[in-house]
Each structure stands twice: as C-alpha cells, then as structure tokens.
Amino acid sequence: MNFSWMAWTLPTVAFFGTIFLLFVGMSIWEYVSPGGNPRFGILRFETTRGDRLFVSLLGSAFIHLAWLGLVGPNLWWALAISVVYAIGVFRFV
C-alpha cells in the first residue's frame, strides 16, 4: 500500500508514533488497573486518567504554539515545559 500521498516525514512519523505509544501505554494501564482512576483535582471537576492525558496533550500543543509565536523555532525548552506540565496534570488535576 502506497502512503506517499500523505506526505510522511521522519519527524511526523516520530510524532504520531509517540502519540500511538502513549495510547498503547494508557490501554495497558487501563487493562491492569481498570476504571480510569476518576478523582477531583485542583480544577474541581472529575477527571479520569484519559482526561488527564487529553489535557496534557492539548496543553502541550498550546505551549509549543506559544513558544513558536513568542520565542522562536527552538522547541526543546517548550518540550521540557510540556513534560513538566504533563507531570503536573497527572499529579494534581
């Protein structure tokens, strides 16, 4: 099957591969510990671990966009901030 029409590049394969691995990891986590671990965090509404992953990914996207718009194209710092943010979301939200 030819996927050249999708214009794949190595960085975008790595990007989607990472997201796919995150989904696989979350599925395994759910299989081992079913129920999604719902809880009320600092935002005062109920979140499951799937919600927390979604908030982490969406927030990370905006952190990267803000970095691109306000600072510049070197995104390693934005990635580091996103990882810290995601840990914070999984710990406190």
Binding site: S4, W5, M6, A7, W8, T9, P11, T12, F15, F16, E30, Y31, P34, G35, R44, F45, E46, F54, L58, A61, F62, L65, L68, G69, G72, P73, L75
Partner: protein, 288 residues
C-alpha cells in the same frame, strides 16, 4: 455500588474507531504532514519545519480574522440567546398555536446554508432586494457591497434569522418540561412574572441554554458558507472570517503548507473551546 469493569466491551466500539480513523484521523495526520512542508504540486515536498506555524502565529491577517470571528460569535450570541428565550417564553403551551409556532420556528433551520446566503444576498441588494430598496426608500444609505458596517449588519441579521429558531426550540423544550407544580407554588407565594422567570424558569433552562450556547458558538466560530455567499469576505477583508481566510489561502493561493498550519491552529482552538464547554456542561451535571 461496585461497577463491573469488562474491557472486552471496547471491541464493540472498534467499527466506530475504524470509521473515525478513515474519516478524521488519517486526513488530520495528512494535514499535519503538509503543515511542516512546502509543495508546488506533483506530490513533491520540501521540508519547512515550523516555519509555517511561525508565519501564521506572527501574521496580522490571521489574528485579524480571529478577532472578527470572535466578535461575530460574541455578537450573535448576545442577540440570539436573549431573543430565543424571549420568543420561547411567549410561545403558546397548548392549542392550535403550538404546532403552527413550531413549524414556523423550524422552517429557517431546514433551509440549506448556501440558499440562506443567496436569499440574503438578493434581499439586501439596493437595486432589486426588498431590504435594500426599502432602506433606500426611507433615506438610509445602505449598501453591503460597499460599506463594511452594512456588510456586518447584513451577515449578523442573516445569522440571527437563520439560527435563533434553534435557541427558541431548545428553550421551548426546556420550558414545557417544567412541572405545573412549580408555577402553582409561585402563584400561591404571589411571585411576580420576573421572579418566576428568575427563580424557576431560568435555572431549569440552564442545561438547554448551555447546549444552545455551545452549538451556536461552535457553529458561528466555524461559519463559512453564508457570509461567503453574501459578501465573499468583503468589502475588503471586513467579513473575512477564519474559515474564509483558510479557503482563500489553500484553494485561492495554493499555499498548502501555511494553510495546513493554519488549519491545525484553528482545529486546536476549536478543540480547546469544545472541551471547556463540555467540561462546564458535565460538571454542572455532577452538581445536580
């Protein structure tokens, strides 16, 4: 109560996941791939990195279109929500008037968007349109093709005409579901008409209003067909909303890389706003 968790049930949603994969995920991945490359056609691509994202995020054109879109959504919400509640409150609750009002309210919703645009394009014309001719007849200088303010008024009136019915129908459904006992208690207490609205009807309408605001905000934020048919984004760029600008960039200029980057940013904003509304809606349900 202890729930029984059976993860095998996830296989039941597998067909839907495959459908979403082909209709949404694969096209979205393709857009992401385009957004980091440049192309001149023939399936030949050149790596551009984050250049298009930087270009869009630092572009006055993008933020102007975003500002116009937010202003448009805010204005139509400020008009359609109170107007929809007002009309729903005054609709009959029984008798022959009920089906008549419901059919009249449903009619604008049944008209395709491009037809609504065409109706208002003709309606507003100063040479043959009823609205344009009447306004000219009473001495008002109105021309939506030439004047940005007139173009905005026309597009807003068109949206209010098309979509207030949706708010009315949702609010009406919410109002008829309030049991009579609430009104009887209010009458015994001698509550005023406003007090009944403030303390009985409005709280009971909260869920349907949240849905109405969510639907109207998202729809108006992604509006394309109606203003495109009426004004084509003009005069100048005065009614060029994000979706119109996106189509101009992708189809008109064939700038597929910047258009893909703009699509991703637009998509993320829509996703964020949808999530905020969804969270607000479901957290209210939790309180209930």
């Amino acid at each position: 109560m202890n729930k029984t968790w059976n993860n095998k049930a996830w296989f039941m949603v597998l067909p839907m996941l495959l459908l979403v994969l082909f209709s949404a995920a694969i096209p979205l991945m393709t857009v992401v791939n385009y957004s980091v490359q440049d192309t001149f056609g023939n399936n030949v691509f050149f790596w551009a990195g984050t250049e298009w994202y930087e270009q869009i995020l630092n572009s006055r054109r993008f933020w102007d279109a975003m500002g116009r879109n937010l202003a448009f959504s805010f204005i139509i919400l400020a008009i359609e929500i109170p107007l929809g509640i007002l009309i729903a409150l005054n609709m009959p609750r029984r008798g022959w008037g009920v089906p008549l009002c419901l059919v009249l309210m449903a009619l604008p919703l049944l008209i395709p968007w491009n037809v609504v645009g065409t109706i208002w394009q003709v309606f507003g014309r100063v040479d043959i349109g009823l609205l344009g001719r009447v306004l000219e007849g009473i001495g008002i200088d109105y021309n939506y093709v030439r004047d940005p303010l007139d173009a905005w008024i026309t597009v807003i009136l068109m949206d209010v005409w098309h979509w207030t019915s949706l708010v009315v129908l949702l609010c009406y459904a919410g109002l008829v579901s309030i049991p009579d006992a609430y009104y009887q208690a209010a009458r015994i207490d001698g509550a005023s008409r406003f007090a009944i609205f403030r303390y009985i009807q409005l709280p009971k309408l909260r869920r349907v209003l949240t849905i109405a605001i969510l639907l109207r905000f998202m729809d108006s934020f992604m509006i394309y067909t109606e203003p495109f048919v009426v004004t084509g984004g003009g005069p100048g760029n005065s009614t060029t909303f994000l979706s119109i600008d996106l189509v101009k960039m992708a189809v008109g200029q064939f700038d597929l890389g910047p258009a893909a980057a703009m699509s991703i940013i637009y998509f993320l904003i829509v996703l964020l706003l949808s999530w905020i509304f969804y969270t607000v809606m479901t957290s209210h349900e939790g309180e209930r």
